[in-house]
């Protein structure tokens, strides 16, 4: 089957749903892009052309099930299943319709970056700015409604006129962005039944011939692995689904507008779900109920590979969204999301070790079905989300209740009583004072700054206020209460400590008296139970000091805290809980848009935060080549007994500076800059007559004494002095100053080059040819070695499943000789030039090429601009001929050009097809 069958073929069928839906053919797939670590990191800056839409139908199905039970439906399970199918199809169609309208230029692209001065959509920018801190934005809904109405206008000039009235949109805000109209086969969609070799680029960094063969076989049996997105077969699960949605990678200017495309899809599709008529057409019975579904928490976009859906920035939103990947793993790398004292996503970045990429990091292959994987992911993610939401909600209520019913003055008076009782040797009072004050100091004592600054910024951030329904309440007022409690209580603790009145219980059971958060911080573990009541008996009161609802009296679950010390500890615990949950709020509390983290690329955030530079090794290799050549030119050809080795250290991010920009937390990497360290080698051989040398360096490690590449019999002595200073400003901010190093080596080596150097010196010869050769050899060898780094020098391979299956059918296997062409996303022909010509022809016409041969028009000239390709197809017995330009055997696409409109054939049976083909070309 040729690639043209990916054409967005409109297959209309009036289903049982009573609506005519558009179906997409699933006869071709974007090439699989295999990348190593460096290329994967570099790809994170590019917009994805293939994504997974993960759909969880739990919310919709639960709602329908409730309806079935409430109305006494005879078969509630069956009704839930059929409604679940309608829901899946409705979400699919809603999303694809929006994407289709964007690609057809019927809807404008809504920009991701709203800061640019050249932004045309100024009204959109203002609306987004006004609504940034609001839970709901009627103005945006109205705006999107106007755009949607305009997109219904069929007459192009009238539509453009209307859209420009709405928001001054220009031609550059629409597809197509170039002069040529987009090809109709720009969008494809598949429902993934199971993860197979068709997603093998997520589990391997390169493809061998065996891997390509697996891909070819999987494509030939694709019905076992993927199906049409609108498939209504009973065996398709409706409780959850993974759709693989693909944009043709050949769309012009995709790199420029790809992020805007996904941004627009996310914004418009959630609006359309509730306001447009798509849902109604797809599910006439249930569409009104479906509009209630929290769609934003029911679906997720994940890039199918290393590219991204949203621009990767070093900010809290990006890092937090990407951290969701932990919940898709069987064994999460860390459990920071559930801790009371989480490091936060930025500190996790600094601490994590170099990870593999495309190594099935999300354990996709461990489940038999794609649905099973979604279920596992959903279960873990929902549990963490529920924990986070409950923690924030409960803690805010605790703080509010305490701030209105237990004033700081009351707590102060309670602590004064505790102090007095402690002076009277009351053990319970001492324990009570001890635990309350320890927890208060740990959290709110600004002299230690473990959490107080962090809590302050959390309560003053716009993120927290967005979660609160009551906009008249500023969460910072809760922090004012906390501060007031701390400021009035801490002096009492200081006094008690001075008088040695605070006594902890015995070390063996002191831990049990702390609240779980403090146990976690102090002992790196926590018990699930509340503090041991035997250690912290209320000594001040016989009845609870604060109740949730005073009207209910002392009943189960209505007690908030027992006495002043207990109330203070409850407030502190609530503050710590809010502070910890807000570290990952963007992942769990994002109710305004669909999550779209780069879950399959752990280097996306590392690259965004400059911890990993995908091009660094490449640049370093070229730098060292340059230095080596200069050294060779200066010292290699003569008998000068000096050699200078320049070594550049890698820049290193040591910490992050937290900045607030437009209400968002951004992390500014603090980089220990790259330094050029020099080592001076002095070859003493020519001077003292023995093959000895001296090396002096400021490198962190002692230098290699052998500067001449070939080791011989050596006797070395090296020494180094280093000094490291560590500073800590708070619990999360421990920094080390750059190492200060000095080192030297003295060594004697009997080797070919030292002997040659010594000999040439004593012979009085100015030229040292052997030394020159070895210097040059060493430089080039080092360069080749550096460039062959399979991990940190960007490498990629693209394998087209359709072409792979063509080759497999043709040869019965994947010949090793074809891997190079297949790895460039081509089929296998006599050379890359012919393969590119066949690809261009097939992509444009949809006609499968059977053979391709490139020949010189005039073999004597061998001019790359003077070539013709002869293509044999299923259309006719003869061959079609096209002029082509191939440089460097068309190893790169940019070196290839084909003039399809100059189609010609010598055979009559082919000539008769030329007019028809010209229309396609």
């Amino acid at each position: 089957m040729s690639k043209s069958n990916r054409l967005l073929r409109i297959v209309k069928f009036c289903s049982f749903l009573g609506a005519c839906v558009t179906s997409l053919d699933t006869q071709a797939m974007n090439p699989l892009r295999f990348t190593n670590r460096a290329q994967c990191a570099a790809d994170s800056e590019r917009p994805a052309t293939s994504i997974f839409l993960i759909l969880d139908s739990y919310n919709a199905r639960k709602m329908i099930h409730n309806y079935a039970i409430a109305t006494g439906q005879p078969k509630p399970e069956s009704l839930t299943e059929s409604a679940g199918r309608e829901y899946r199809l409705a979400v699919t169609h809603n999303t694809l319709t929006v994407m289709q309208r964007l690609l057809q230029g019927r809807l404008p692209l809504l920009p991701t970056n709203l800061a640019g001065n050249d932004l045309q959509a100024r009204r959109y920018r203002k609306i987004q700015s006004d609504c940034s801190s609001k839970l709901s934005c009627p103005l945006l809904h109205e705006y999107l409604g106007q755009l949607w109405q305009a997109s219904e206008i069929k007459d192009l000039p009238a539509r453009l006129s209307r859209l420009s009235q709405i928001d001054n949109f220009q031609a550059s805000d629409f597809f197509p962005l170039g002069s040529k109209p987009l090809k109709p086969r720009s969008l494809a969609c598949y429902l993934v039944k199971n993860f197979s070799p068709l997603q093998s680029h997520l589990a391997k960094t390169q493809a061998s011939s065996q891997d390509v063969e697996e891909i070819a076989k999987a494509w030939m049996n694709k019905n076992q692995h993927i199906t049409d997105c609108y498939d209504q077969s009973p065996e398709i699960s409706n409780s959850s689904a993974i759709l693989q949605i693909e944009i043709s990678p050949t769309i012009p200017n995709w790199e420029k507008v790809g992020f805007d495309f996904w941004n627009s899809t996310k914004i418009i599709s959630t609006w359309a779900w509730r306001k447009a008529e798509i849902t109604e057409k797809m599910s006439p019975s249930y569409y009104r109920l479906f509009k209630d579904v929290a769609l934003e928490e029911s679906m997720m976009f994940i890039p199918n590979g290393c590219m991204s859906i949203t621009p990767q920035k070093c900010d809290q939103t990006t890092l937090t969204e990407n951290s969701i990947r932990e919940f898709a793993k069987i064994a999460p790398t860390h459990k920071d999301h559930s801790l009371y004292s989480p490091l936060g996503p930025e500190q996790i970045l600094l601490k994590q070790k170099p990870a593999d990429v495309n190594d099935d990091i999300l354990n996709l292959a461990t489940e038999k079905s794609a649905e099973g994987w979604v279920q596992r992911f959903r279960k873990q993610f929902s549990a963490a989300r529920g924990l986070s939401r409950n923690r924030i909600q409960h803690s805010l209520q605790v703080l509010h209740r305490l701030s209105t019913s237990v004033p700081s003055q009351l707590i102060k008076e309670g602590f004064e009583k505790l102090l007095q009782l402690s002076r009277e040797k009351n053990k319970s009072a001492q324990y009570s004072l001890y635990y309350a004050c320890q927890e208060l100091r740990l959290s709110m004592d600004s002299r230690f700054n473990f959490y107080s600054e962090s809590i302050k910024s959390t309560f003053e951030s716009t993120g927290l206020s967005q979660l609160m329904h009551d906009k008249s309440r500023d969460p910072s007022t809760l922090f004012v209460y906390l501060r007031s409690v701390a400021d009035t209580t801490l002096p009492i603790w200081d006094l008690a400590a001075t008088e040695r009145l605070t006594e902890p219980p015995s070390p063996s059971d002191s831990k049990e008296g702390f609240r779980p958060w403090a146990q976690e911080v102090l002992f790196s573990e926590k018990s699930a139970q509340r503090p041991d009541s035997g250690l912290i008996d209320s000594v001040l009161r016989t009845k609870p000091l604060a109740l949730w609802n005073t009207a209910l009296g002392v009943v189960a679950n209505n007690t908030l805290c027992y006495d002043e010390a207990d109330c203070l500890r409850a407030a502190v615990e609530a503050a710590i809980s809010v502070n910890s949950a807000m570290k990952y709020a963007s992942a769990f509390h994002n109710s305004k848009s669909i999550n779209s983290g780069s879950l399959l690329n752990p280097y996306a955030e590392l690259s965004a935060c400059k911890i990993y530079d995908p091009w660094l090794k490449t640049k370093k290799a070229y730098e060292e080549l340059f230095v080596g050549l200069v050294n060779t030119a200066l010292f290699g050809w003569n008998n000068t007994p000096i050699y200078i080795d320049l070594h550049r250290t890698l820049p290193q991010v040591t910490s992050f500076k937290k900045l607030i920009e437009d209400g968002q937390i951004r992390f500014s990497p603090q980089v220990q800059a790259s330094e050029v360290r020099a080592t001076l080698f002095a070859d003493l051989g020519p001077l003292v007559g023995v093959p000895c040398s001296l090396a002096i360096t400021d490198q962190p490690k002692t230098p290699q004494i052998n500067p001449y590449f070939f080791a011989g019999i050596s006797l070395n002595y090296c020494d180094s002095m280093s000094e490291v200073v560590t500073r800590a400003s708070n619990a999360q901010d421990i920094q080390s100053d750059p190492q200060k190093n000095k080192g030297f080596c003295v060594g004697c080596t009997l080797s070919l080059i030292s002997a040659e150097s010594t000999a040439s010196f004593y012979s009085g010869s100015v030229i040292a040819p052997v030394k020159f050769g070895i210097h040059l050899f060493r430089t080039i060898s080092n360069f080749v070695s550096a460039k062959s780094d399979v991990v940190n020098i960007p490498r990629q391979m693209t394998v087209d499943p359709v072409y792979a299956s063509q080759v497999f059918r043709k040869f019965g296997s994947i010949p090793e000789s074809c891997i190079q062409q297949i790895g460039k996303g081509l089929s296998c022909y006599s050379d890359a030039c012919a393969a590119r010509a066949a690809d261009a022809f097939e992509s444009t016409t949809g006609i499968e090429v059977q053979s391709a041969l490139v020949m010189d028009q005039n073999p004597n000239l061998s001019n790359p601009n003077n070539l013709y390709v002869y293509l044999k197809t299923s259309k006719c017995q003869g061959e079609f001929r096209f002029p082509v330009t191939c440089r460097n055997k068309a190893d790169e696409a940019k070196h290839f050009e084909i003039q399809l409109d100059e189609i010609w054939s010598y055979e009559k049976d082919c000539q008769k097809h030329i007019p028809e083909l010209r229309n396609l070309l």
Binding site: R288, I392, N549
Partner: protein, 194 residues
């Protein structure tokens, strides 16, 4: 069709014998087969004038507005209501005129919440967790309680009610404001008074 966010609510509870209309959550299927959530207002025999006045029949089905993202777990307000409403809110013993409640249901976008509501994603309906919570709102210990939540896209200009009734036997339906114990809904009463 307008889809609205939950804005806030005020509670009204039944405790006297002054009115006998029943309010309960229901579903409505229109002539084209479209199913919607609805509020059923039923008047007992001999006291049908209120219902007849509203819809010309002894019982009325009032379609509820779409409630944006309410079928899910992301609404902090719904989480509060289904899990801890009895702790966070209390009866203020201020009686809301019954006509005002009916007027509200007809004229403003509202949804009626019951423990087994389709929007209850927060507690185990079968165990009746939310039933205890809702009952805790009723000062007279009635068996069934429900809350009417007002919706609006522009927050802070809608009012709400909470009503309580005995589903099997409509006995009384006096309506009270619910005072807000905690802060998230603290501005409701003042808005209503305005």
């Amino acid at each position: 069709m307008t889809v609205l966010h939950i804005a806030f609510y005020l509670g009204v509870m039944s405790s006297s014998v002054t009115l006998a209309q029943e309010l309960r959550s229901s579903y409505l299927t229109n002539s084209t087969g479209t199913i919607s959530r609805a509020i059923k207002l039923a008047c007992p025999v001999g006291q049908t004038e209120v219902c007849v006045k509203q819809c010309g029949a002894p019982s009325c089905l009032i379609e509820e507005a779409a409630c944006m993202s309410c079928a899910g777990t992301q609404s902090e307000l719904l989480r509060n209501l289904f899990t801890k409403a009895n702790f966070f809110y209390k009866s203020s013993h201020l009686i809301v005129p019954h006509a005002k409640v009916i007027e509200t249901i007809y004229q403003l976008p509202v949804v009626l919440l019951e423990p087994q509501s389709p929007f209850n994603f927060y507690t185990n309906v079968r165990k009746g967790d939310s039933k205890n919570v809702f009952q805790g709102l009723c000062p007279d210990g009635s068996l069934n309680a429900s809350i009417v939540v007002g919706l609006d896209e522009s927050i802070f200009n809608v009012l709400f009610t909470c009503s309580k009734f005995n589903r099997r036997k409509v006995v009384r339906n006096t309506l009270y404001f619910v005072s807000v114990v905690l802060f998230i809904l603290s501005s409701i009463a003042s808005n209503y008074k305005q």
